[in-house]
């Protein structure tokens, strides 16, 4: 009935819609991330309440050394704060590149955070047979380290595109990354408090 | 509305009334599971009966409505008639439907809660000889049940034997994976979870021989983890049997772990 052209049409997506999709999509992923974190929280509190055979936190198991734990947390918060600052800088002056240096610093701090996390995980002296506090906490630490790793990849992607002038960073892109880092940081803070003090 | 349609509606409504009534009368006297061998079985049967008597008229009504609208008003698949009256959303009907279904649901839920509360507290069945409940432990493992009687020295038995004159308090636990103790005729189902004591009470009302099955998938021989020789016997028979078993088992009691509500098998039993 309606005669449409038979030749193929090339379609250029609307950039405004794309950036809205990106922000919404990354927020939705944070929602999914939230339910995953809540499962770990549930596991932690439930196993602690059950304390079957007294094996939640048997003797000989100590919380992670506080110095290292605080270092990891401080680096995490710093990385997030720097990324957030970069996002605000770009927000104030879209199109300018003042944020690039800030973002590079954020990347470095983020990598340092990941390095300290891995160091912490491998130097806890925990083994899986030492009770469920150890089991849940170590699994959660690995999960968070993976999330920080993804955050680092995200920053690398933004910086690569920007520095090679192929994909300039948009306000939406950086804002989504900053929100992601905010989420991981809040979860890290919660995990820190739980694992150190709610044993 | 045209007279033929009104007649059809009356016929369908009449058919509904007859079918609903006939079904409910049948359901009222049909022997429904799980039966009446124990007090909670009787209560569960009653609940199932009442739910069935409520569900049946609803089922018949919806099916009658569907048959009526689909069949009576149908046209050939390739017909070209557009004279269907448009029925706009009628908020009065919608409200009544939602209010009605909510009321029914609330009623069923309240009824279920009351029944549950009654079933899980010690009943005041007058016919019971006022003894303390008989504690029977059900120990599940791959792939059989063992029954332990703490008030008779903690002897173990491969088959369940219980008296019909007093409250029975089952304590169900497992030694390895999750099983489930299902005493169908007694209306008792309780999951057997390692290091957890799952307690269910019931008062037998009849004697007989019944079936017990495991109803939680527990490995290869889950299907064979059943016993057709569970017995509810009279008080006298039970006492005789229990004392006999206690005497027979006395020499080996020192090899059995002391009675407790949960058991922790020796290390090395898991995941090797």
């Amino acid at each position: 009935m309606t005669a449409l052209p038979q030749t193929p049409a090339i379609h250029e997506p609307d950039p405004v819609v794309r950036s809205r999709s990106l922000i919404l999509g990354s927020r939705l992923m944070l929602g999914a991330n939230l339910t995953a974190q809540l499962s770990f929280l549930f596991a932690y509190l439930y196993l602690r309440a059950n304390n079957n055979n007294g094996m939640w936190h048997p003797d000989g198991v100590s919380p992670p050394p506080i110095g290292l734990a605080v270092t990891v947390l401080v680096l995490q918060v710093a990385a997030f704060a720097i990324v957030w600052a970069a996002s605000s800088a770009l927000n104030r002056q879209p199109g300018a590149s003042g944020f690039v240096r800030i973002l590079e610093l954020g990347l470095i701090v983020g990598v340092a955070c990941l390095a300290f996390r891995l160091f912490q995980i491998t130097h806890l002296g925990w083994t899986p047979d030492k009770g469920t506090y150890v089991d849940v906490s170590i699994l959660w630490f690995f999960f968070l380290a993976a999330q920080v790793f993804i955050g680092i990849l995200w920053l690398i992607k933004l910086l690569s595109g920007q520095l090679r002038r192929t994909v300039p960073v948009t306000v939406a892109d950086l804002r989504s990354a900053a929100e992601y880092w905010a989420f991981v940081t809040v979860v890290s803070l919660g995990v820190f408090l739980l694992v150190q003090y709610v044993t | 509305m045209p007279p033929r349609r009104r007649t059809l509606i009356n016929i369908i409504a009449g058919t509904w009334a007859v079918l609903a009534a006939a079904g409910d009368i049948a359901l009222n006297s049909l022997p429904l599971p799980p039966g009446s061998a124990t007090d909670i079985a009787g209560s569960e049967t009653q609940v199932i009966r009442i739910l069935a008597m409520m569900a049946w008229p609803i089922f018949v009504a919806v099916v009658a409505g569907l048959v009526f609208t689909l069949y009576v008003d149908r046209v050939a698949p390739d017909a070209r008639e557009f004279d269907a009256q448009t029925l706009r959303g009628n908020s009065r009907v919608q409200t009544m439907w939602i209010a009605g279904s909510t009321t029914i649901v609330l009623g069923v839920a309240i009824f279920g809660t009351i029944t549950l509360a009654n079933d899980t507290t010690v009943p005041t069945v007058a016919q019971a000889v006022p003894n303390t409940p008989l504690e029977v432990q059900v120990i599940a493992q791959q792939w059989y049940f063992t029954y332990r009687y703490p008030s008779f020295g903690g002897f173990e038995s491969a088959h369940l034997v219980i008296p019909s004159d007093r409250e029975i308090e089952f304590h169900v636990t497992s030694l390895d994976v999750t099983h489930s103790f299902w005493f169908f005729a007694a209306g008792v189902k309780a999951d057997a979870v390692p290091e957890h004591d799952n307690s269910v009470d019931m008062q037998p009302l009849k004697t007989g021989t019944y079936r017990i099955e495991c109803s939680e998938l527990c490995g290869i021989w889950h299907g064979s983890m059943s016993d057709d020789n569970a017995q509810i016997v009279s008080a006298g028979d039970f006492n005789t049997w229990a004392q006999q078993q206690q005497q027979l088992d006395a020499p080996i009691m020192k090899f059995l772990p002391p009675y407790s509500h949960t058991y922790v098998p020796a290390p090395g039993a898991y995941g090797s």
Binding site: M1, H11, S39 | T69, S215
Partner: protein
Amino acid sequence: MVDAVAVSKTPAAPRPLSRTLHQWGLLLGVIGAVLGFLLGYFLGGLGFVDNNSNGSNIQILLAYSLSAVGFLAGMGFFNRLIGSLLGQRPPTLADEAYLHGEGAGLSRYFRLTVDHKVIGMQYVVMILFFLFAGGLGAMLIRGELLSPQPSYVTPESYLTLVGLHSVIMIFMASAAIIGPLGNYFVPIMIGARNMAFPRLEALTFWLLPPAGLILLSSVFLGGFPTGWTGYAPLSDQAVLGMDAYLVAFGLIGLSIMLSGLNMITTVITMRAPGLRFTKLPIFVWGVFITSWLGLLAAPVLASVILMEVFDRTFHATLFVPAGGGTPYLWQNLFWFFGHPEVYIFIIPAFGLIMEMLPVFTRRPLWGYRVAVGGMLGVGVLSFFVWQHHLFVSGIAPALRPFYMFSTEAISVPTGIIFLVALGTLWRARTRFTVPMLFVGAFLFNFLIGGLTGVFLSDVPADFSLHASYFVQAHFHYTIMGGEVFALVGGLTYYLPKMTGRQLNARAGRRQFWVMFISFNSTFLCLLAVGMLGMTRRVISYQPELQGLNIAASISAFVLGASMLFWLGMIVWSLILRPALATQKNPWESLGIEWQLPTPVPTYNFDTVPVTWALPYEYDTGQPAAIPGRTQPALAGGTPT
């Protein structure tokens, strides 16, 4: 905010290497899978002792995971990701057109193609494969259950058979309607040219073949003994086949989550200007609401699978009481996912049924807003009922009344769907096409399914009925009687638009009646058998129940035959002797998808319509929108 559409011919430049590699993506994917498997096996063998009775968990887990990664890498899913990490230029418009399958012919179905319509067709094939593979398992199970003692299947293989049947059907059901029909039609119904994240959508499809193969391969590793629910600590004990289940289910969970993400974003950001939520077709609402469930529930599955992998592979004790864990942790987390999962099955079916009803009753959906509210109520409540699976488990007995209330409360919004259906049917001049037959069957079957659910939600009744064949018949009535019947009807309805070919109506009617009657006779027998005390997942049962089991099995064989006949109809009418649809809109639907030509052009619309109406105005004959027009007019005019 109208997007620019440039019309040009495909570039005639020589094909670059990347395109050739892309065209051979499936072969490269298989090679990548094999290489990934070997790499994982090798890595897992470094320094880890054999920690399972038939091999090393870590080897199998790494082998499977890396083979899935290798497969996706070979297909080309990491190209853009790695490219963006290296700062390469983004794909050009020509690249994107190529990825959409421009000028590619049939080969675009066998490689990474981001056209949502291609993905929809790919899903059709995958869903049918899972349906019939699972169905074969069902026939073998029913054959075995003809006898109350083990006959031709050993007890160990029986459990794996049951597990495979159930997991394959779960995989199928989780995407049966959203996969083929959601992917194909949601962008069209909202006036979009594709989904918000096209590559992601292709990924949700291409996760399925590896997941299915990994799951089926568990047979070679000794199978798995837990059924689809994977209860720990039985799963801790199990041999290596359990790891196949864990990896496969993890991949499916990822697919569900990403599909949910994509659908939500697409419906929110990519609707045509002028299309408000209050004018969305009810099918889109169904998919939209379901997607929230998928997005939020699947991560919990992923977490609990991770915990189980940790338990099995590293001997953690998260589910083992001797080490501080508890089986209840698995049960709670699994069912927190598991219950929304079954609503992921059925809510799209509600949407699909209500989408087809107006077409065959020739009148608007009666109570559109109430229907949306009903589906929304079901979706929200589905997160608050999961402990009804744990009524007899021994935990939290005091919470049981709450979950009894919440579970029974779900029947109110579900009832609303019936209300809307009945209202739409009342005094309608219903056209009894084959899809309409399936709509009617859906309503009948789901009525029984829903009513039996009320029995199960009542705790005292559940003491008798839990874990028996009553439960099994209940969920087969809702999932098969509901979703699968809706799927068959929906495919019959939409295949003319997707392929331009129609199924034979007379054969369809006959197939329908055999399927409907045999389905009901099978599962009514199983309802009875369950009430009489037969447990689920058992290879041997009480001899006095053999009669009912034989009746159920024979009916099941007839049902299986009717499904095979339907498959034969599809192969015959679509492939062997294509029966061309006589018109582009054979059902005379007012939906916008039916106003487009067949086959639907790559970018769906020439000009996206800006004036939209609900596609149910059968009294005026006003379609939802006219593609190519910017103002409403009667169908048949020339585009402006």
